[in-house]
């Protein structure tokens, strides 16, 4: 299966087809406008569903059989349970028992706990994954072991792909902390509470069959209904839908590393001197340790100057919740809830609101929230001297992360990447990124412990930092500084085999990941 390679607008060679489907190469930011109508699932009729509203079936296996599970289907799950997810595992255990093959798993993100599924990739139960490639799954994929090509999309891109019909979900299996037999569900109550279920919204609306799995089944009505039962075919009660302590833990502690704290503090100072921090502004900071502490330092400045933010986009966590409760932030528009404080807040505080990729990120929505945010703090594994950045592969070529909302957030008004200049000898600022995930024209500022680089396109920011005492350098200077310390890295070696495609927010292919060559030495 030789495919033709085409050079896309990012200068990357991408194939003309992936998994037998034609590819549209990336054309540049805002250049691609798909035509036609949105994909629709089959028309259901209420006469086919029990009039007493009880859609409960005895087991997930039974639900999957009734949903018509068969070879080659696309099965989706969401990632609100993070490292505590048991749903994907249960689904593919059943599929294996039923002898079903060649399934495509379409999660909204994967985690290290999903290494459990490697055996199903090995035995052919799962043919490939279209979703993020974290940890062991990324390694497996990078070593060329997956039968088909993986496809990575942003959270917004996932919604877009579902609406485009690029991905047709046959069965969505959606875990919920709490649900009723009709299928109304939320992530607010029950031992497996995950806060919200925004990443499951598209799946519920567009999958042919929808199964709700919960360990806390309450009598109708389950309030609030973050997922509406009217989309749901079957409900299943299991003993445990997730592992509570792994659902709401992970990266929600601020960093203690003095280097990262320094970067975070400099980021907040940058926002201060450039006038980004002003009454009524908005911000989004991710869940990593550095991003969290940027939020804390922003809070310090706001407190000192008596400034209030109109809204913060989450990931919510105890730090953001305390800013909300202190009155520093008027609303949290939450994408996912990272800790128990976040769960409590979204349950009890009407100013803490659930969002979904539809509201926040979707390319086919009539506008979305991402572009309205004043300042966005994001991470990256690599950034090149033209501000193009990579978030999915490490410099050694291995896929180890998903895109998450990263590409979508690049549309924020000012995008800042606070990153160390190098991580354990691995330089972050490179001549060229290993994988091209986001174009530099959307990335405004790179803040490292050894200096700040501002995108030449942002003459306004360059002007405003003058005289601030902040150490402004060029990307080339930063790169040379990193190389002086770490040495000039050799290039990782790849085979010709394409193991994963990276989609841009509009569904075009911005880059591909190739199989890492067996280590030689």
């Amino acid at each position: 299966m030789r495919h033709k390679l085409i050079r896309n607008a990012a200068g990357r060679l991408v194939p003309d087809e992936i998994n037998g489907k034609p590819v549209i190469p990336y054309m540049g930011v805002g250049k691609y406008r798909p035509q036609g109508v949105r994909h629709s699932p089959q028309i259901p009729s209420c006469i086919d569903f029990p009039s007493d509203g009880n859609k409960q079936v005895p087991s997930l296996r039974e639900a999957l059989i009734r949903a018509g599970l068969k070879d080659g289907m696309t099965i989706s799950t969401h990632h609100h349970f993070r490292e505590g997810d048991l749903v994907a595992q249960m689904v593919f255990d059943c599929a294996r028992e039923l002898g079903v093959k060649d399934l495509c798993w379409f999660p909204s993100a994967s985690f290290a706990c999903h290494a459990y599924l490697l055996k199903y990739l090995d035995d052919g139960t799962i043919s490939h994954i279209e979703g993020s490639m974290n940890g062991p799954l990324g390694r497996y994929c990078s070593e060329g072991k997956m039968r088909k090509t993986a496809v990575l999309r942003s959270h917004g891109g996932r919604y877009q792909a579902i609406q485009d019909g690029d991905v047709k979900i046959d069965i969505a299996v959606l875990g919920a902390g709490c649900a009723d037999p009709f299928g109304n569900a939320n992530g607010i109550n029950g031992p497996s509470a995950s806060g919200l279920l925004g990443f499951a919204v598209a799946d519920a609306q567009y999958a042919d069959k929808v199964i709700i799995v919960t360990d806390t089944l309450v009598p109708f009505p389950c309030i609030p209904w973050q997922i509406q039962g009217n989309y749901v075919d079957y409900t299943v009660k299991v003993d445990r839908v997730g592992i509570p302590e792994k659902i709401v833990s992970g990266t929600t502690e601020v960093t203690r590393s003095p280097d990262r704290l320094m970067i975070a503090e400099m980021t907040a100072r940058f926002c201060d001197v450039t006038g980004i921090i002003r009454n009524g502004f908005s911000f989004q900071a991710g869940a990593g340790g550095t991003a969290l502490s940027v939020g804390n330092f922003l809070g310090d400045i706001m407190r000192k100057k008596g400034i209030k933010a109109r809204f913060a986009r989450g990931g919510s966590n105890k730090y953001l919740v305390s800013m909300l409760e202190e009155g520093l932030v008027e609303y949290i528009l939450d994408g996912q809830t990272f800790d128990l404080e976040g769960v409590r807040s979204i349950r009890d505080n009407p100013h803490h609101v659930m969002t979904s990729p539809f509201t926040s990120y979707n390319y086919h929505s009539k506008g979305n929230f991402a572009s309205m945010v004043d300042v966005v703090i994001l991470g990256a594994t690599e950034i090149d001297i033209n501000f193009n950045a990579n978030v999915v592969t490490h410099s050694d070529g291995y896929l180890l992360h998903g895109i998450g909302g990263w590409q979508n957030c690049l549309f924020g008004k000012t995008v800042i990447l606070p990153v160390p200049l190098f991580r354990d000898r691995i330089p972050v600022i490179r001549d060229e990124v290993t994988t091209f995930c986001g174009p530099g024209e959307l990335i405004d500022v790179v803040i490292t412990e050894r200096g700040i680089a501002i995108n030449p396109l942002r003459t306004d920011l360059i002007e405003m930092v003058k005289g601030s005492g902040l150490p402004v350098k060029t990307m080339v200077q930063l790169k040379e500084e990193a190389e002086a310390i770490c040495g000039v890295p050799q290039k990782p070696r790849f085979t010709d085999k394409i193991v994963a495609a990276i989609k841009w927010v509009d569904g075009t292919v911005i880059d591909v990941v190739r199989q890492v060559e067996e280590e030689m030495l």
Partner: protein
């Protein structure tokens, strides 16, 4: 016989663990496990081969567990393990960073000095970015007894290869007499100041100074000394220690050991060390050098550190040690001149300028006569206020308006 050097384990970063077995035949075999193998595998094995050849080792089995060690670390670890096998005075020195070679002033600011454990490369790499006045590579208490030898190679290589961005480059040697043996690994490389721990006599300072001169091949006039007084004898001899050599530019007190030595508990309010601290300040000031206070060991309590710093400043100390980078800003902030000091200093500076212009030779502020040392201190206060951003560079103009 297999020898090893370096560190390994899940939490180890920017370091490596090396096992070496020197053989009779079979050539050199290198087994490298590294997270950065795809990026630096060739560089790592290349350096190792070059070093083995340099020390004349033709047959060996080398195993490296690498956690992102920079070349200076890798080379230090390998040299340490090679020297467990062979006795030689040969040293494998990486090229020296030219920007590491600079002198510092006798009376340079020494408000903050960051201690770095001499056998931990991870903490060295970014040590210079926090803006502390001095960086101390420590060979003494922070290095386990069994690791003293490998730490020497690491500290030596760090002095040559790690950019501390202009911070004063300091090394704390071991307590004498062992510390004298450390000096040959330090003195020929870019170092500005040697700390002499547990110093209790003039003789120990002189011994150190003499050893440095011997290594330099001429009378030491480039490397400053900072004795650390850590027991009752040292405190009683503070005057002679402070005046022992013209290379002594500062004298520090170590209160953990001191309080133990006098049979007291170290308390928050510090009554038990009041005498010693005052004695140190007086002895140092009398000798025209800087008195430096003990470190503050609770790295999570910044409020208590700030109180401690303000007290230290009130007693007359010129600076204190830091054991964590986060302490640097707090110590600077609280050692800085406050508003009242700055305002008085400005008055004195203006009065002094006026006096000079008018040729009166007498400086007076609000009908009080001001002595020359007070003028000097005022100018220093202004300088520090400007350096720390508390006063604009054009403070004269802003005063006029």
């Amino acid at each position: 016989m297999i020898y090893t050097a370096g560190n390994r384990g899940d939490k180890v970063r920017s370091d490596c663990f090396i096992s070496l077995d020197i053989l009779q035949e079979q050539g050199v075999a290198i087994e490298l496990k590294s997270k950065v193998k795809a990026l630096y595998g060739e560089s790592i094995t290349g350096l190792c081969r070059e070093m083995l050849a340099f020390f004349g080792i033709k047959n060996a089995r080398l195993e490296i567990e690498d956690y992102g060690a920079l070349p200076f670390t890798l080379a230090a670890r390998l040299e340490a393990v090679i020297k467990k096998y062979i006795e030689t005075d040969q040293e494998y020195l990486l090229p020296m960073l030219p920007q590491n070679v600079y002198g510092t002033a006798r009376d340079a600011d020494r408000v903050t000095r960051l201690y770095l454990p001499g056998n931990n490369p991870k903490l060295m790499i970014n040590a210079g970015i926090y803006g502390c006045h001095g960086i101390i590579l420590d060979l003494e208490d922070s290095v386990a007894p069994g690791r003293k030898s490998e730490a020497r190679f690491l500290v030596r290589n760090a002095l040559r290869s790690v950019d501390f961005y202009g911070a004063e480059r300091m090394v704390r040697i071991n307590q004498l007499p062992a510390g004298l043996d450390d000096l040959k690994y330090i003195v020929p490389h870019p170092v500005n100041l040697i700390l002499i721990p547990k110093c209790e006599s003039q003789a120990q300072v002189l011994q150190t100074d003499a050893k440095i001169s011997e290594i330099l091949g001429h009378k030491n006039n480039t490397i400053y000394l900072m004795p650390i007084v850590e027991n009752a004898t040292g405190v009683m001899n503070a005057c002679e220690i402070a005046r022992a050599s013209e290379n002594v530019v500062a004298m520090a007190i170590g209160l953990e050991d001191y309080t133990a030595d006098i049979g007291a508990q170290r308390t928050a309010e510090g009554k038990e060390s009041f005498f010693a601290r005052c004695t140190m300040v007086n002895a140092a000031r009398a000798a025209g050098i800087q008195p430096i206070d003990s470190v503050f060991s609770d790295i999570d309590d910044m409020a208590a550190l700030a109180r401690n710093v303000r007290e230290s400043k009130a007693l007359g100390f010129a600076g204190m040690g830091c054991i964590h980078p986060r302490q640097v800003a707090v110590i600077h902030e609280n050692f800085q001149p406050d508003e009242a000091e700055i305002s008085t200093a400005k008055k004195i500076a203006f009065a002094s300028e006026r006096a000079e212009k008018e040729g009166t030779g007498v400086v007076a502020v609000d009908s009080k006569m001001i002595d020359a040392p007070v003028v000097k201190r005022a100018l220093r206060t202004i300088e520090r206020a400007v350096n720390t951003g508390k006063l604009p560079k054009n403070w004269r103009d802003s005063h006029a308006s």
